[in-house]
Subunit: 337 residues, 4 copies
């Protein structure tokens, strides 16, 4: 932690900060510059000290040196993690393909989707049974009935089931049917839920909040890891910016950034990340080319009649074409590696 | 709802959309332009139709005409709402002043704060007992012990107690001590929590999410109203933008915007909205001048030693000066009205 | 400048950076932490060194300590500046009110506007003769004819004339008629234009670019100051964010921020900053309450028939009411100061 | 254009808007809904009418139907454009690779770079002779001397020369040496400059402004096309968002979006779009996979000693590896197409 003093800070203020740093169990080193004084606080404590120092008299600002997360950090665990469930595998060189409808709507809709995405090469099946909806008047999902259909689809196809859990009260129920618990973007900082999915021991797909910084994203993962659950996948699904021609702005540079900072697998969601079916193909291929450990796509037998997210869902044929191209690009990059 | 067709949409596609609109119980009106065709869907249904139409073949885009929220809307309830609890009053001409520490830390810290903000003219006391923290390693609050201290402070001062509830499992406990349940920005779209605080019947202070649109914000309020709880206050506490010299960007234009769309009272949070104590005073006076129905401020007996948010907390003296100026501006605007 | 090394930086890399720092005429101080090493570079040079250090092997990041601007800085000139032209005065306790039409459209439109805003208490007249328009097919302004009308309006009313200059080739012409040269948000980093208005010696109103950071804004002012022209006013007119219910997001916290960093006067533009007439009044009063050194407003005799920006222009009556309230708030704050 | 009236708009207001629409040479169609009235304005005029209607009494909002640009539009010119200069070719199936130093610094630096990027497969050479710099105290470029070196590099290597022009006064000079005039992001809405490069007749690489919407970007291109110059390439180089772990956020979804709206070639700039050398490789491969018509990269013989942008420049070896992978991905996608 580097403490930058105001230009007109007094010697008393400087000494008080240095003393405070030391009272926290850190070593302080005072550097007197030509314009201002800087105090380096040395040690391996990572905590709330920053706030306290920042509000001390004469302090202009504080720059942290260490990342605020530990277990998620590549500094703590240098080798990449891999999450394996059934045939699904993501991370450390494996690329997982998850696809399926936004919402589970009926047995026929789900089973046909599961068969189609399996045939095209997917290893994970997505489908929402509990749906977080912006409006209380929108379709809220089939709930337990939807979970049962997802489990049946796994029985038949062998696909690993990914589905969202919206509240702590539902964790046990969802965990009894699903292979991977998804925490949605809107709940990325719902700490009670993060603790609960952490305690469940089930693999978790954690979606980045629409305005979460990378530190906030990794600290949310840290809440899960901190409960002893190390099966966490990070999902970049786009951020909110001034752009309105896409539903969200999808920053693929998150892939190299996260690969450098964390050992956790990184999954890209081009469906929510663009919000328009016609963009999903190109962004899926690009995600794989950028080195993502997986992609998650919305696929529906009849998008115009989907109960949710039809405008960003692919048909079975479109998905099949996208899978084909992703595999070609993967092959080209692997032969070269 | 206005449906804009692609320039090269076929007559079949146009007819199919018109038919779909009618199957939803709406009347359709086809307008043939020189470049493209537009279909107006007329009726008072507000629901998921937009998504379904948007994903139909030949459709370029859909523009909603009606607001997606109802009970929060000024169209449904034209006169402004007021929330009254003890001496606290906000909305419909009343301006409420809520102040207190970020976290409840000790009896002495809380009681001295409550007395000081009461003396300066506040009518509400804020203080966190359950603290949502970005890092799992940060101070998480005094929990029930903190709630007891808040209740004791109310006993002595008569201030209405505002405190955050983080999860559905805590709603009953927090509601048994607090006067107003606060839903934090990170939980603005935690729909399970919105339903639970709605069912509690307690007044709610709902904070805007850092990247929530106004429609999303008002639909979150609608979740609470939809449970039969009409005591909802909206709190603008700043949005996430590219600006880094403030913790968030505080858009005071939310006040006139929300006053035009909704009858619910609008409270401004200049502490989180700026993140720097030295800006809080000016932004508080500006908030009152912009017509806010209240402000909520972090005040601490000794900010540099606060366990959280010291860098954006005012001292008792600073708060007293801010209150004085806010009252002067209010008086000047009221004599003129 | 603080150089933070990678955790696994080698001793050679650390030594190389220290040597580089010294070769730049700065003193280096190496601080060995428990996790990584930090190098402080001490001295008063402000330049491109940061980039060069940042790309050196083993460097994780660089934190500047000093502000990159000098002449605009309050560290260099602690007392606030004031700009005076005719009866207009802004800064160091004076608040300037600038009003008038977006575009000069005709003699009658401009003269009636000038008389009305003068009567209501404005001391500056705005009006565009050269109009930067997003589309090449939009009205581009009356050009020199418009400048002549502005000069005539000054003759009659004594108002100081503010008008935009769009290119270096027009600076002499515009400067021969106007009192203040306005540089628009789109040209904030048009460095050739900044140099030219700097050389003109005329007072300049520099608008913040829609996505400019504060450092970029102040460095743009520095380009003007660097030409020996110290009559610079900064204008906050809103930034581009994800919000779409306003044309731009208007961050009034720019007022206290800029007052702390720079001596230059700060003017707020609630017309562009909101993009909706109905919000202009509240945000004008709020701007004055926040401590702005002036406001600039679009006023038109007949907004629905304006050739540009009618949706954010006030009528004469609306402007008169806004002026009245701004003066009341100013009086209330001054008596208290 | 669809005009949405306020819910409480009077019949007079509705009639007045309809009359105004007709006075503009458009046909009006009034649709009376259950909650409000909507007026469709039909015709092929594209101009300032929107603003005027938007500020009329009783109007709630206006939704444009047609794109505001014409010549850039795919509706006007359905087949994709290609820009060819020497061996460089971009668009309509051709992918152009442009590389070279941020700034021209010396004969040796430029010539070695030109040879290296040519050897690796580039067909365009970038290099700044006039440098727009945030600070007036930074290196401003070698100016004409730099242009001469660029021309010499073209002589030897046959690479097409891309270089920035910062002001109207420099257009003739730069055009006499360069093959492609680059307009930087900061000048995207410098309309005088757009007109001047349009009149030059030279091919233009137009960079997207950091907060430009797609309509603004395409209307800036329209300024150039409107001067009779149809050799325009669009360059996505990242937008300003709340993310600070990258210099800008690079939205690759701009590729499919622009390909749908415009026939102009789309070039991606992963150097500025990320701001970190370690991300450039992955994002370059991803850009090609997303279907970009070209990429432009900063390459330097010795990045840590570059006079500008070293932190985002590749070495010769890194560039060579990136080119190899881009070509592999292109081959994989083309065999499949």
């Amino acid at each position: 932690m580097i403490v930058i003093m105001e230009q007109n800070a007094t010697q008393e203020q400087i000494d008080a900060v240095a003393k405070k740093v030391e009272s926290m169990g850190l070593k302080s080193s005072i550097i007197v510059g030509t314009e201002r004084t800087v105090i380096a606080a040395i040690g391996d404590k990572r905590s709330d000290f920053k706030d306290s120092i920042e509000s001390s008299p004469g302090v202009s600002g504080v720059t942290p040196i260490s990342a605020p997360y530990k277990m998620a950090s590549r500094e703590v665990r240098p080798e990449p993690s891999r999450v394996n469930i059934l045939d699904f595998s993501a991370g450390a060189g494996s690329v997982g393909f998850i696809a399926g409808p936004c919402s589970v709507e009926s047995e026929e809709q789900l089973m046909s989707s599961a068969r189609a995405v399996k045939a095209a090469g997917a290893t994970g099946l997505r489908g929402g049974a509990f749906k977080p909806r912006t409006s209380p008047y929108s379709f809220q999902g089939m709930k337990e009935e939807g979970l049962k259909l997802l489990a049946a689809a796994r029985e038949e196809t062998g696909l690993a089931v990914f589905t969202e859990v919206m509240g702590t009260a539902d964790v046990d129920l969802v965990a009894s049917y699903a292979d991977v618990l998804q925490v949605g973007a809107r709940n990325m900082q719902n700490y009670r839920l993060l603790e609960a999915v952490g305690q469940s021991g089930k693999p978790v797909l954690l979606k980045r909040g629409a305005s979460a910084t990378m530190d906030e994203f990794l600290l949310a993962a840290e809440y899960i890891l901190n409960e002893g659950n190390e099966h966490v996948m990070l999902c970049e699904r786009g951020i909110r910016t001034f752009e309105s021609h896409t539903r969200f702005t999808l920053p693929l540079a998150s892939v190299p950034y996260l690969h450098r900072r964390t050992h956790l697998p990184v999954i890209i969601d081009p469906s929510h990340g663009t919000g328009h079916t016609y963009m999903v193909h190109d962004m899926s291929v690009a995600a794989v080319a950028a080195g993502a450990d997986g992609i998650i796509l919305e696929v529906h037998p009849d998008p115009p009649n989907a109960l949710s997210d039809g405008y960003q869902s692919q048909t079975f044929d479109e998905f099949s074409r996208t899978m084909g191209r992703c595999k070609k690009v993967l092959a080209a990059l692997q032969e070269d590696a």
